[in-house]
Amino acid sequence: MAQQEPESNNLTYKGVNEDVMGIITRSGLGYYLLTGAFALAAIGLFIMPWAYQIYLGQGVTGLNAPVFWGIYLVNFVFWVGIAHAGTLISAMLFITQTPWRRAIARGAETMTLFALVLVTLFIFIHMGRPWNFYWTFPYPNQRQLWTSFVSPITFDVFAIGTYTTSSIVFLYFGLIPDIAALSHTATGWRKALYETLSWGWRGTDAQWSVQAKACMFFSAFIMPLVVSVHSVVSWDFALSVVPGFSKTVFAPYFVTGALLSGFAGVLLMLSIMREVYPVMKKYVTNYHYDRIGVFVLVLSLTWSYLTLMEVATGLYANTSLEMEHLKFKLATPPYLQLFALMIFCNTVMPLVFIVRKVRPSRFGRFVVPVFVLTGMWLERYLIIPNSLSRKFLPWMWHDYAPTWVEASIAVGTLCGFIAMFMMFIKVFPIISLFEVKEDVGIPMRNGKRH
């Protein structure tokens, strides 16, 4: 049994409102300065280099023939992965009525939303002519130009588009009762904003019933997306014939990896939030860490198995194509070291979660997720540019290394992600008021209903 924390008891409706309102409004100057710093970093490290890239062309990257996909695509896949925990926690655990999701679902959904913003950005960043991005949509036009529905890139447009739309809707539907609740106490521009966004929510039975139905519907709707979105993303690679890309295991492999990184992301996000807002300890308890830890452990084991399968299948095939690709990935510095690091991060590190005590520990809360996120980023790196470095015709083999522009954009977008998140929680409740309130009055221990 995880360590008990006294705050988890004695919740009142008022207390919950105050706690959450406090998170929104009560922050020192330091918080805003930090938010501003991240925003500025996003402008300096991402917007400006991107403008530079748009002006000069993709030549400012380290891309070449045949490595046409570099860390922009790595980041794209990585952030789609991060976006996955939101879906799983909100939708899957909602449908299964898993009670401990309540306190953390809003945070996970928010993370999903901003991760998807980055996903979309990276699609544009990696394009040669991003100003023509809309050509990838099937819009009616007199030239009778249409998109190609056999292209996995078109699948992406639909999958990511659907996912983003439904995530926003799902997040928003969940927010409506909370926004309405906040509008009672808020003043000034906040009141105006909340009243507008609450769409006349009164909390009538009819409204509650519609809201519950809608959430249930969207949960059911989004649930397949957990599997489909990253499967589709994996097909960007798996549908090609490129050695290292063309693998049937990729769909489940990518989904598992996405969930692993997503859970690690949620874990890290909650831990940081709790440090910043100690009041959150009442809501996000050791029990949550325990549950998430179990998920991370199981996903890590699954991921490790699939990684082993991926490598073993290649070895078993024993063709020159597979072997050279594996040799490059597993036996050529620095990729050999990166591969070892990836295994350490994704397989070895999460094993500490076998020990229950470790799950809510500082180590488990901060160190393990950072390693897993690093490992999952590396996994994508080792799949994408590395496979393209060793394609069919050895004459064309060429290595890839990202340039400062690519590195800067990677860091800058991360800063942007953090800045957006920090701003969001100053406007919207990061803990679902109404869902947490469902637990008020019912004896709670460690977030679990008795």
Binding site: E324, L393, P394, W395, W397
Partner: protein, 748 residues
């Protein structure tokens, strides 16, 4: 409106386009695209290409071209399909012709030196001023009684420009026409003349040969007439009756041609002549020789027993006999001696040995063998003047004999060893005129620079050398009006003659175009084959301009029979392996220099297409490299891409290491072509010029500069930024280049 004006007019913009469009609509010729220059302007329709037959001037092979011209601009050069030399094909260098014409670093008008020599500090002058300066200087020299102090340095001249230049010199009173080209084949001319009495290069009938034994001739890439020989090579491999011809290549460093050979014989550098003689010995010894005087041959070849030669050449005795057998038993066979063997100090001896082989195998005069060329239709003085060579020029200059030096279309400062001291000869000469399109290493020492038309802007003609077994005369005609304020060389000489008058007043033509046409008129009236081909000269001329020149329809001409006598060659046999400067203990490696496949002797280095064209054997672009056997490199601790310092007793350069499996471990090789200090933005300050490492060693008989004449040592000199396009050259069993056995059955 004159055609030239018209071209200028439409060149300036769409206003002209509109005018041309209207004219085009009125008088569109039905489908006629090959039009001669003399046909009126109405044929120019904006948006519709015209094609002009002309001559590729980028190397001495003399391929015929079609220049595709739209709106007064050359768009592309293609081979003239009717031309007997290249049959419609072109090499990479030739195709870059438009980049010569439209090169951003072309000299745009005549220049007069202002600063010190070599600084490139010039002022613009007009052509009138330029011609006046030359005329005045030449008049002064003539008046002082030293007309023979006028020296002219050009590449070998074969067309009527050569005739004009020689009339000019003779009339002026100078005999000093130096004809120099790094790969000018002086040794080949000498050897063939001495052995067979041939005044010009013979036709090597590779196409019909079934066994080609090449001694260092990179004939599909850089040697003599690469496009012609490549076409022949293709036919030899796959088109010939009686099966596929085989190619055996003897050379210490695998050339592009060697890379395609069925067999590579990496003889020790400097022993190829001995190897050839040993093969000849084996042929005579085994009784496989054709022709008489076997005793004579036995006597001459007595010193070249295969058993002895095997040690010297590093080629086994059995292999020598096997080659001798195959060479004499496969019919027809052909031996070729290329730059590889002629580039030693005793270069004539290797070529002589090759002549002996062809004689003993009965290849001379045979189809698929060595075929003497007929006399060209337009006669010019074809004999190479072996007396006038770089060393005699330097000696004359040292004695103060050189009063004026005119250099046309040649960059000898770049292509001769530093030890030849040509730079100082040119720097110190009292009056130097450079007739060049570019400010190169030689032009930078000139007092006066006269920008030349490029081949696409000028008139000229040419008898290809080597010939192709039949009579061929090519006409060069302007495809466009001159892009800059340049002139043709012929017009410069005529202009000077006109201004000087006096003894030069015999050169009366108003323009070189007129001079050329007159020369052809004379040839037409004298030559029965020519006059039979058209009713009037004008008709003949128009037809020749359309077709690109004149060559009689394939007629079997009576072949001159040539033989090689034991007596004629005995004075030119290799007595010992070729000499290399430097002791093998201090300088452990033989150095082999060879022309870069696209830049050749360095002339192509200012053309961006060619800088970016991967070298076929290394894929290196934009630079120099040194080829080192991987084992040697490992022994020296050198990795691919490491910078290496290459040092000979005469000089030192640095170049990145390329690990080259096709080279002997005791040899290193560096391509010639890069290392320019001048010659425009694409060439200057790029790579290294290996000629700087050479001693000035010439074949005593011919004056040909020996490129394989020194040993070098090699040491690491830090990292380099060598750029090569290849990833890996290992197929890894992926069946990328599949092979089939000779009978054509599929292997797998």
């Amino acid at each position: 409106m004159k055609r030239r004006d018209f071209l200028k007019f439409i060149g300036v913009g769409a206003a002209g386009g509109a005018a041309g469009f209207i004219i085009g609509k009125v008088s569109k010729p039905p489908g006629a695209k090959l039009i001669p220059y003399v046909v009126p302007d109405e044929n120019i329709i904006p948006g519709v290409a015209n094609y002009y037959s002309s001559l590729c001037t980028l190397c001495s092979a003399g391929c015929g071209i079609h220049a595709r011209v739209m709106e007064g601009r050359v768009k592309k050069i293609e081979g003239n399909p009717l031309h007997p030399v290249n049959k419609g094909r072109l090499c990479a260098l030739g195709q870059a012709m438009p980049q010569v014409t439209y090169n951003p670093d072309r000299i745009k008008g005549p220049l007069k030196r202002r600063g010190a020599k070599g600084t490139g500090d010039y002022v613009d002058i007009t052509w009138e001023e330029a011609i006046t300066i030359i005329s005045k200087n030449l008049s002064d020299i003539a008046k002082s009684g030293s007309a023979d102090g006028l020296y002219l340095l050009t590449p070998p001249q074969r067309g009527n420009l050569g005739a004009l230049i020689d009339s000019f010199l003779t009339a002026y009173g100078s005999s000093n026409h130096y004809q120099y080209e790094l790969f000018g084949q002086r040794n080949l001319y000498f050897a063939n003349h001495a052995a067979m009495g041939l005044a010009n290069a013979p036709h090597y009938d590779i196409e019909n040969a079934k066994y080609v034994l090449s001694f260092g001739a990179d004939f599909t890439s850089t040697w003599m007439s690469p496009v012609h020989y490549s076409a022949a090579y293709g036919e030899m491999r796959q088109a010939g009756k009686g099966g596929r011809g085989a190619l055996v290549q003897v050379e210490p460093r695998l050339s592009l041609t060697g890379a395609n050979a069925d067999e590579w014989v990496p003889a020790k550098p400097g022993t190829e002549a001995i190897l050839a003689l040993a093969i000849a010995h084996a042929v005579v010894e085994k009784g496989w020789a054709k022709g008489g005087d076997l005793d004579g041959w036995r006597h001459v070849l007595a010193g070249y027993k295969p058993s002895v030669a095997a040690d010297l050449t590093d080629v086994s005795e059995e292999r020598i006999y096997a080659i001798a057998r195959a060479f004499t038993h496969t019919r027809p066979s052909l031996a070729i001696g290329g730059d590889g063997v002629s580039s030693y100090q005793d270069g004539v001896s290797g070529l002589m040995a090759v002549n002996i082989l062809n004689h003993l195998a009965g290849n001379n005069g045979a189809t698929g063998g060595v075929i003497p060329n007929p006399e060209p239709a337009i006669k010019r003085d074809s004999a190479v003047d072996f007396k006038r060579r770089i060393s005699t020029l330097a000696a004359d200059a040292a004695k103060g004999k050189v009063k004026a030096l005119i250099i046309y279309n040649s960059n000898p400062v770049f292509t001769t060893p530093v030890a030849a001291k040509l730079a100082s000869v040119i720097r110190d000469a009292p009056f130097v005129v450079s007739m060049s399109s570019f400010l190169d290493e030689t032009a930078v020492y000139a007092d006066l620079i006269l920008p030349m038309h490029t081949g696409l802007e000028d008139w000229g003609d040419d008898a290809p050398e080597p010939g192709v077994g039949t009579r061929v005369m090519t006409i060069m005609q302007p495809a466009i009006t001159p892009y800059y304020n340049s002139k043709g060389a012929g017009d410069v000489f005529l202009g000077v003659a006109k201004q000087m008058g006096g003894r030069l007043s015999g050169l009366k033509a108003n323009s070189f175009a007129e001079y050329l046409k007159d020369a052809w008129r004379t040839a037409y009236s004298k030559d029965r084959q020519m006059s039979a081909s058209a009713l009037t000269f004008d008709e003949f001329w128009e037809g020749a301009l359309k077709r690109g020149g004149w060559w009689p329809k394939a007629t079997v001409e009576a072949r001159r029979q040539v033989t090689v006598s034991a007596r004629s060659v005995s004075a030119h046999l290799a007595q010992m392996p070729a000499r290399f400067e430097g002791k093998d203990t201090d300088y452990p490696f033989y150095l082999m220099l060879y022309p870069h496949s696209a830049h050749r002797d360095g002339r192509g280095a200012n053309l961006p297409w060619l800088q970016e064209l991967p070298d076929p054997m290394t894929s290196v672009v934009w630079g120099t490299w040194v080829e080192v056997n991987p084992k040697t490199a490992a022994r020296l601790g050198l990795k691919e891409g490491d910078m290496a310092a290459i040092e000979s007793p005469s000089g030192k350069i640095t170049a990145p290491v390329y690990l080259y499996p096709g080279i002997r471990p005791d040899t290193v090789a560096v391509p010639i072509g890069q290392g320019h200090t001048q010659y425009g933005r694409y060439a200057a300050r790029r790579g290294a010029n290996p000629i700087e490492m050479l001693p000035h060693s010439e074949d005593a008989r011919t004056g040909a500069i020996a490129l394989n004449s020194t040993r070098v040592k090699l040491s690491g000199a830090g990292p380099s930024n060598m750029v090569k396009m290849e990833g890996s050259t290992k197929e890894l069993g992926r069946e990328i280049i599949q092979t089939a056995p000779p009978d054509g059955r599929s292997e797998s």
